[in-house]
Amino acid sequence: MTKHQANDATYTASELLCVMAARLLKDGQIVFAGIGVPLLAATLAQQQFAPHLTILFEGGTIGPRIVPGELPPSTNEQRCTRYANMVLPITDVLLLLQRGYVDIGFMGGAQIDRFGNLNSSFIGDPNNPKTRLPGTGGGNDISSLTNMIVAMKHEKRRFVADVDFITSPGWIRGGKSRAQAGLPQGGLWRVVTDLALLGFDEATREMQVLALQAGVTREQVQDNTGFKLLFADNLEAIEPPRKDELATLRRLDPDRRFTA
């Protein structure tokens, strides 16, 4: 497990992703979160600076409170409903995306490509796959209907020029291709990795490095990416995770089930 050093605090890659993802959120937003990094990020944001932010779970929950140490195993169990404002059928919570109530959806995937398309269905030829992955779940719905934040480890085998299969559409083939495919709304907004913060060029919709994690070089980022990256003219510097942020995370996940 990569250890990172900052403010004389040690943290894991997952903790770094949680902190970076949390900082991208704003108070009052409605956020569709999966378990693991997304849930921890959204909860961290709530406790740090966004008390009016609302978490939605795919399983059918609006505005739950997370009980420290009792993180749900998925978005579908009763732990997701603790102190929630509302519990509703799955189809209806997903329809909130289609009705236009959701600001941000958190996504993951086994592969992401230069246009931000995500693959969580097949590694290799979909008709004869090397690996059959679990599939889209709500990923395709979230990516089709709202703005996404993707948080994942930055590895060459996962950052590929073209995904083997588009499970969750990002900008598809770039340019206006997403809107032309029947998805005028939403799109992939930010990609958070343990090496950098990335976005997409307004015109070409190609992936672009916006900022580097503390102590990380452009070369490191490019070397761990399977395609040619764009770089913003002036790369921002990212403040490493602060002690208070890490302390909150560790209170939420004392057993490091999701942040190891």
């Binding site: 399983g59 579908n76 009763q78 732990r79 059928p89 997903l94 693959n119 779940g137 588009i166």
Partner: protein, 323 residues
Amino acid sequence: MSDNDLVTPYPQLRQETLARDRGLREKVMSLEQAAKLISDGDHVALGGCHLSRTPTAMIWALIRARKQKLTVSRSIASSETDLLLASGAANHVVTSWFSQGLIWGVSKVMRHYTEKKLAVFEEWSHMSMGLRYRAGAMGIPFMPSRTMLGSGVGEQLGEKLKTMTCPFTGEELALLPALNPDWALIHVQRCDAFGNAQLDGLQFMDLDLAMAAKRVIMTTERIVSNEQIRRTPDQTRIPFFTVEAVVEAPMGCAPHECYGVYEPFFSHLDDYAHVTTKDPIEGSKKYLDRYFYGPKSWPDYLSELGMDAVLDACRRGRSVHND
């Protein structure tokens, strides 16, 4: 399905519904009797979602009854569907996500059966699964929606997914075919002898599932009197006339959870993940022998899970009522 139509023709759907005895009648039976109702090749939709309110007891009975060639649909499939494949009961899974659970990695059983093409894994988006059931529940042949466009998921479905230009707005829309399963297996906290079901907490897609299905088999933690149901009719979620069989199955979702009654049996699920990851074929075979074919009865199955595990799951399950 009784035929290979993607969408059950409306005259047939009505005919099959009207032909059933929809009177207010008792229909309590055993797991074994209920299992006899289902034919090989039927499309069986599973209630609950992922690790929650899974109709484990009924699945257990179907596997013990050596059903074959079932098509299974569930919006999020987990270990229960591993076992339906491993036992040979099912060979076609319609779902949006299929693996034991994120914390256990990708299911080796799912991988074995789908990568070796021993079973079909038909992938729709999560919302699309829900809207297909909802269209079926509403008696319409399709539901318009705005997802699966421009994706491989949509592409791969070919003619099963259609698109149209909206006559009101000129937008491009996806059209999802209605899904009317032959059976829905649903587990609830309480239900009367007629099939009126009241379920607490997360409802998942169970309401639409019950209305969409041609018949429902309802398992329940406990059977309550119809008088008790009639005291809080606004808590009833599924009406009796959708139901063909009512089976009392305490701990009927174990090792998964039943909202407010018990949480998942985590260490059991860790063990399951361990044995099936080491060897999906042998591991699942051993598991089926020990927990599915071995036990003489459902209580016997629960004993095999262990009294300590049962009490622990129930203690955690009650926690929501302490809030």
